[in-house]
Subunit: 611 residues, 2 copies
């Protein structure tokens, strides 16, 4: 359990010492990495992580927006379970996070960068947890040790006193909000600030020197941390969580200029999509970012800077990878690379994220188990999987693509299994990906036709299964609460215009079910939307009217998923399976001793399987 | 918020001082009270509560078993929200209970009797809450002040050190487990214990003297409490929670003999029900209590003692009501009378509770607002409602029957509204019944045909609505987790015999939707069951095959209910409605200042309703 003082190194260190470097980018689309295909930007460092491990091609977020998506990753739970429905919503103190699972094992859970955790101060007050205590700090930081907590969005007056502001001041920059004025804005010829929030200004370079940019500074802090743990020998998770390439889309030189003339990918959109009469889609297409990105001028202003920021991250990650090698940590460290969601960038007549097309809901996900050492060559030693991928010394396959359906909440159980942590009372819905990394589960989905309406794998809900379970799910689910968006207000206006009853706030939800081929999107009060990624990989057409049997199957799947408990957290499946109704002296409803003996005999002969 | 010391009386006391006496019986069927019809036992004291207030004729539990049902009452949440799926399952420290809402207002929340709260010791450990602290005690006792906590089921060795054991020892009884040997067993001629757990022995009187029985002792403790608060003047909720007429079905003399020859109601059951091929129903009919009660000999042994225990409670409640009058507390105290679920007693070939027929899922519920004083006669003063019911001085109608659909979780918000408590961050799904008590909402359902698939009223989920909202629901939901029952093991055996895949533990659930006419019962993997209480009030026939459109409507209702969030507890609907997306400096996706101005203008002109 949590101690009242910071956790001390375990003695003796458990062999083999294992660590995780968990890199996250914010708002990074998978197809802007060269390992994922025709990216406008080449990302050799990130590609190298893929080559060393498993590249997931069907990884999706539990909710296509920062806070809810991240909370799923940090808790291992779906949005409806952790209850954080949007960015400003606190994470209840009730929820165990990664740090809760790691602390009892003396594993540091260090944050460098962003979490988007909003602390549950009311819950802490109710439970009399002092913010200044070790437990209070743990909860305030979402279970992370705030080695360098930096959430990275600081409109005035939020910037005051941040470490990055202090750093920039130390570097000689002058201003009240250097995050805004220097790091995330440009300047005109007269020296006036060109506000980086406005997309029209994203065709200017950021004022800040590249070496003082958020990405560079965050990387510097990570290198310091890695030096520290290399010296101390304490096992760790290092959550290196970059705010970029999230807006404001401002890139520093020389990256800015390098990409100004990049070949901008054609927008994935069709005029017919704009003719939709679906009220929800229409409302999304009226979002400010959607309206902005509908204009090619906006894409031309933003996308080069988006590419530049990605390239910059890739270059800085090379420093991180070199540090792993130089410190020897590479031999014991699982490297995870992911994003918290994507970015429409004008595709499908949308901007931002918040919906379920591939551009927003799919994320890059790479997981590489450690190599033995700098000079090892697994392939040369004959350590090659049957599919030609080589097997890394940590047990994982190298260079493997995996098309299994994966969700953000799978990362937590994956890390726990790698670290050898078997939680006492897990409340995790995700499944460990370790069998996929090891190749003990096939990385390729056996067939396209799912076997029916089985629930999305909820191996650990209520606990019990422990690590190593193979996750075989028929679909994955993503969810979104649009009550905080303009979308809701536009829908309310639409309802009023058409004399329709207003939806209560509790109905401002949408759900995506994806089975690997069909993507089903449902929102109460509107007809469902159906994409067929086999016939129409670009998701330009709604097949809902043409596939009634698919709609029925997906609706059943959603129904089953919704009925699955998401809040039974205090009694595990293992406890249920081990419960003996004749063991506690409560003989309820038995007429006589003979009836008790009969049931006892029945129970002792029958096997009592559970799953 | 909770203070680290016990709450002290508020100064000055808020006028008018208001209290609640919340009487609960365990396993009491509504139709065993004379105010609910042809009861085999006359209950004049309880009937008098009904005459003074509102008698709810369609009150149902959120789950037909003690722990989950009570946790719904104590939290105001559905089972799937509070996560307590069965009797042995702890209530997470995360959940606010009645006591959390009352403490900040200096209102005592005193328990006299049973709660079935299983404390979340692991959660407390995680959050470093010392069991001995005031907060620890608050959480260990489910938010109650344990004036006399007595859960009332003490098979050896659980009895040791209980207050009731100590009391009985002081009264001269000898034995290791006096709860068992004296209060809940009989004796044969040779003085051997006749185990009260076994139904065959329920045709003997309990050994204990009536005046020392659990019901008498619990009542004594309540009288002491009422004397104490009458003297102190501190407002209170007094949860007087009798363990009886719950099994062991042992009644003391003279009540035992008074009812030995009572006219036992004909069992509500039909041979056709036993010919069911529904696997779930068949498994329930194989439960030990079902097998026992199928024999009339069992009903003849048990039901007279069940009646005797009810009569005994009614007599002791007369002492409580007299104390309310004598202390003057009657003028300021709302009286609530309810049960946590019913008892099949052999009806429908079932025993115990755990399923959804009226005998198990429906409860008696009476709520009486205070009269002005002993001598007042509201009717004589012309204070009469338009339906002929008289209006009590507290504002409530007297002698009113209400057929609105009511759930156990409605009690908490009702009490809060009566007490004038407006929670800071409510996480309550139930609706206050105050508008029904006052007659500001019609107590009679307008029509039989529900208006569609609106969710069961979730006014306070995520908070925001505050007190006084009128709850207009199309149906109520009850749920049950049969994974802990023999039912599951018998179903597993059935599946194996028939080569069917075993259901995972997470699917061992059933759900009841009741719209006032149709009772729909669904469990994943089996066909639904449908009762039509209009055509078949005794629920002897399954209409599922004959009412496809009703099945569809109910399935949709269940689907909608399941999709409704049950865990969004940290951000209220009020906060969502008040959120201003242009107020915090995050200008996301805007091309230029003009676009921001346009949206600002749009928002300032449109009204922004929410509900």
């Amino acid at each position: 359990m949590l101690s009242s003082s910071p956790p001390s190194p375990p003695s003796p260190p458990s062999p083999p010492r294992r660590n995780v470097l968990w890199i996250m980018c914010d708002q990074l689309r998978a197809d802007y990495l060269s390992c994922y295909g025709a990216s406008p930007v080449s990302t050799p460092t990130i590609d190298a992580i893929a080559k060393r491990g498993t590249q997931f091609t069907r990884a999706y977020v539990n909710s296509p927006v920062c806070g809810p998506s991240r909370m799923s990753m940090y808790t291992g739970k779906s949005m409806r379970a952790h209850g954080v429905h949007w960015n400003d919503h606190p994470l209840s103190v009730a929820h165990q996070t990664l740090g809760d699972y790691l602390h009892p094992h003396g594993i540091r859970n260090a944050l460098i960068g962003k979490t988007h955790v909003i602390p549950d101060k009311q819950g802490m007050k109710r439970l009399q947890i002092a913010p200044g205590s070790a437990l209070g700090q743990h909860l305030l930081k979402g279970g992370f040790e705030a080695y360098e907590h930096y959430d990275g969005l600081y409109p005035s007056p939020y910037h005051r006193g941040t470490a990055y502001q202090t750093y920039l001041e130390g570097r000689g920059y002058k201003g009240d909000n250097l995050w805004h004025e220097v790091a995330n804005s440009g300047r005109d010829a007269a020296g006036n600030i060109l506000d980086g929030w406005l997309l029209k200004n994203n065709d200017k370079p950021a004022v800040v020197d590249e070496g003082d940019s958020e990405t560079a500074w965050t990387t510097n802090r990570a290198l310091s941390f890695l030096d520290e743990v290399a010296a101390s020998g304490q096992p760790f998770v290092c959550h290196l969580s970059y705010i970029k390439p999230h807006w404001p889309y401002m890139a520093p030189e020389p990256y800015f200029s390098e990409f100004r003339d990049v070949a901008i990918p054609r927008a994935v959109r069709d005029e017919k999509e704009r003719q939709t009469v679906h009220p929800l889609l229409a409302a999304y297409q009226q979002q400010p970012a959607a309206v902005s990105f509908a204009d090619e001028a906006c894409r031309r202003a933003v996308i080069p800077s988006y590419c530049a920021m990605i390239k910059q991250i890739d270059d800085h990650l090379a420093r991180v990878m070199a540090k792993l090698e130089a410190t020897g940590l590479a031999a014991s460290t699982m490297v995870v690379f992911c994003a918290d969601h994507g970015d429409y960038l004008g595709d499908h007549w949308m901007g931002e994220k918040d919906f379920y097309h591939e551009q927003a809901a799919r994320i890059p996900l790479l997981v590489a188990l450690p190599r033995t050492g700098d000079s090892s060559d697994d392939s040369a030693r004959g350590n090659t999987g049957h599919d030609g991928s080589s097997r890394a010394a940590g047990g994982g396959r190298a260079g493997q693509h995996c098309d299994r359906l994966v969700s953000g909440f799978d990362l937590l159980p994956t890390m726990l299994e790698w670290l050898g942590v078997d939680p006492e009372r897990p409340t995790i819905e995700g499944c460990s990906l370790m069998p996929l990394l090891h190749g003990t589960q096939e990385a390729t989905t056996p067939g396209d036709a799912p076997s029916g309406a089985a629930a999305s794998g909820a191996t650990w809900v209520g606990g019990g299964a422990g690590g190593g379970a193979i996750c075989d799910r028929d679909f994955i689910v993503s969810e979104y609460d649009h009550s905080m968006l303009l979308v809701r207000k536009r829908l309310e206006a639409y309802h009023r215009r058409n004399n329709l009853p207003l939806s209560p706030l509790a109905h401002c939800r949408s759900y995506m079910l994806f089975d690997g081929r069909y993507k089903y999107i449902a929102s109460r009060g509107y007809r469902p939307i159906l994409f067929d990624l086999q016939e129409d990989p670009d998701e330009l057409r709604d097949f809902a009217a043409d596939r009634p049997s698919v709609l029925r199957r997906m609706a059943e799947g959603l129904h089953d998923w919704a009925l699955t408990d998401h809040n039974q957290t205090t009694f595990t499946h293992r406890q249920i399976a081990e419960y003996d109704e004749l063991g506690d002296g409560f003989f309820i409803g038995y007429w006589d001793e003979a009836q008790i003996a009969d049931v006892r005999a029945e129970l002792s002969t029958g096997d009592r399987p559970h799953r």
